[in-house]
């Protein structure tokens, strides 16, 4: 596989996809880290690669960055410049933050003006610490500095390994906003185990488990495929009685009863449920505190897919 450094790319261009892998396999002795992975990352998308520890996310990013070699299969990266951010960025401790970003800009050598250095340091919230040596930076600051050093070159493709993992809530918000702002301008492929973040910023998603792709496509498509129509009902009394009443209806698939009068319904016909549920509850004679429509989070889906 060709090694790509920022500013160069000798791989075939594909117009609608920034990344395409076919039957990509990586083996470490007897361990298969990636098993015939077909990955398609649309150009301009923010793509979230999620999976449990050991799923192969970092290996995948390493191969795409040209830092590791695939055992078999093919990789096409259609990007002029590629920026890579490891999960725990480190730099020579005796450099200042500004020098790190400036070095990154100079090495990419793609005509970005030096004023861009201060600009990205400001965006990363490091303007005030730019002239401090890196050895005094916290882990969160290093993460933001790493991102600044990547973003300064305005790469066509960003490969980010857990970009917000070490950040406090405010830092996380800044990074997520920065990533959202890059949608359409750059293609972003990020691995993360913070599913909330993925759900917030990504429009495409790939789920890896033990080196295999369990799902890939739009986030909305994933959520709608795995979403289960359901309702939550909270009653003050008579939960078991209401459960029996509900199970008599053909559109009710299952009813779970919690210890505090909380009923969880899974239904096969949402329209029928919306028409009849409130009437059944009113007819039961028991006081009802609330009824709500259940939603499916990425975490629910992730757990189901990777189970």
């Amino acid at each position: 596989m060709n090694r790509r450094s920022a500013g160069t790319c000798s791989l075939p261009k594909v117009t609608d996809r920034a990344i395409h892998t076919a039957a990509l396999t990586k083996k470490y002795k007897d361990v298969t880290a990636l098993d015939r992975v077909d990955l398609d990352v649309p150009r301009g998308s923010v793509y979230g690669l999620v999976g449990p520890n050991g799923a192969g996310k970092t290996t995948m990013l390493g191969i795409l960055a040209g830092l590791r070699k695939a055992t078999s299969g093919s990789v096409e990266v259609a990007a002029g410049t590629v920026g890579v951010l490891p999960d725990t960025p480190q730099f020579d401790r005796w450099l200042t933050g500004r020098e790190v970003v400036e070095l990154s800009r100079k090495l990419a050598d793609n005509g970005i003006p030096s004023s861009r250095v201060d600009e990205v340091l400001e965006i990363a919230g490091l303007a005030g610490d730019a002239n401090r040596k890196v050895k005094g930076y916290s882990r969160g600051m290093l993460q933001r500095l790493g991102l600044a050093a990547v973003v300064v070159n305005e790469p066509d493709l960003l490969l980010l390994d857990e970009p917000a993992a070490a950040l406090d809530p405010a830092g996380r918000r800044e990074v997520l906003d920065l990533l959202s702002a890059m949608r359409g301008r750059s293609t972003v492929l990020l691995s993360s185990h913070i599913l909330e973040d993925v759900q917030e910023v990504c429009d495409e998603i790939g789920i890896l488990r033990r080196g295999e792709v369990m799902y890939q496509g739009s986030l909305d498509g994933l959520l709608s495929r795995y979403s289960r129509s359901g309702f939550g009902v909270k009653v003050r009394s008579g939960a078991e009685e209401i459960k029996d009443l509900l199970l008599d209806r053909p559109w009710v698939k299952s009813v779970g009863v919690g210890s505090d009068g909380l009923l969880s319904l899974v239904v096969s016909d949402r329209a029928a449920a919306e028409q009849e549920l409130v009437g059944i509850l009113a007819g039961s004679g028991h006081p009802v505190q609330w009824v709500n429509q259940g939603t499916t989070s990425l975490e629910d889906v992730f757990l189901e897919v990777t189970r």
Binding site: R3, S5, A6, G62, A65, G66, L67, R68, K69, V82, G83, V84, P86, T88, P89, Q90, F91, D92, W94, L95, E99, E102, L103, S104, K106, L107, A108, A149
Partner: protein, 246 residues
């Protein structure tokens, strides 16, 4: 800021240049001082002690410097070289560099700057030893000293090239430095085989002593072999590092 200025900054800000200067400079001073005052010191200990000392000459001031430089100086150079050349020791730093520049462009400045720093500091120590010998004892011929210094500097470049090659096999800085010194010792032991000795890089180290004592210049073979080894090891190191996974 580029990869060349990065290396000079590394030497300066990590005080490694100062360490090299202190090592070679102090030995440069110690050589002539020892030659000048050791006999007096031994005499104060008694006649028996003086009897065990061979008679000292002015050239011994420079020889003593080279002898010391050969031990601590080479160890210091190996560590300074390893700290620069083992850039895969921290994968995150390796990722920063490798995704922005070609291995050749990362490796060559580190090799050249580390070698240059060690060679210049060695030369500085030699100037101190030469001047100190002249002032304290008597002036010796400059020509053999200059030639011997140049040949020792080539040996230091060879040493850093060995460090570079070892860094393509190992990743940790202490590991690279110590294995490199071990490799030099093994290469030095090859000189036991007499026909091989004039061809080995180690022949360059003793050139100053031989030339100062009126010996002929017999170092072309060692110079050619050493230069070829430097070029070969550098090419091989870059090739190996280019194919190494991070």
């Amino acid at each position: 800021m580029n990869l060349w200025s990065l290396e000079w900054l590394r030497l300066w800000r990590t005080q490694r240049l100062m360490i090299l200067a202190a090592v070679f400079g102090s030995f440069g001073l110690l050589g002539p001082l020892t030659v000048r005052f050791l006999p007096d010191l031994m005499e104060s200990l008694g006649e028996e002690a003086v009897g065990t000392l061979p008679p000292m000459t002015a050239a011994d001031g420079v020889s003593m410097y080279i002898g010391n430089a050969l031990q601590i100086g080479i160890l210091a150079t190996a560590f300074v070289g390893a700290a620069a050349l083992a850039f895969d020791a921290k994968p995150e730093i390796a990722i920063f560099l490798r995704t922005r520049a070609a291995i050749r462009d990362i490796f060559i400045p580190r090799l050249v700057v580390s070698s240059a720093a060690a060679a210049v500091m060695f030369a500085m120590g030699m100037v101190i030893a030469f001047v100190g010998t002249g002032l304290l004892i008597e002036w010796i011929d400059l020509g053999p000293v200059l030639i011997g210094t140049a040949l020792f500097m080539v040996y230091l470049v060879f040493l850093v090239a060995v460090v570079g090659l070892v860094s393509s096999f190992l990743r940790s800085v202490p590991g690279v430095a110590l294995v490199s010194v071990g490799a030099l010792i093994v290469i030095g032991l090859l000189s036991i085989i007499s026909p091989l000795a004039p061809w080995l890089p180690g022949a360059l180290i003793g050139s100053t002593d031989v030339l100062l004592s009126g010996g002929e210049f017999i170092y072309w073979r060692a110079l050619i072999v050493t230069s070829a080894l430097i070029a070969g090891m550098t090419t091989w190191s870059i090739h190996r590092l280019d194919h190494r996974e991070v």
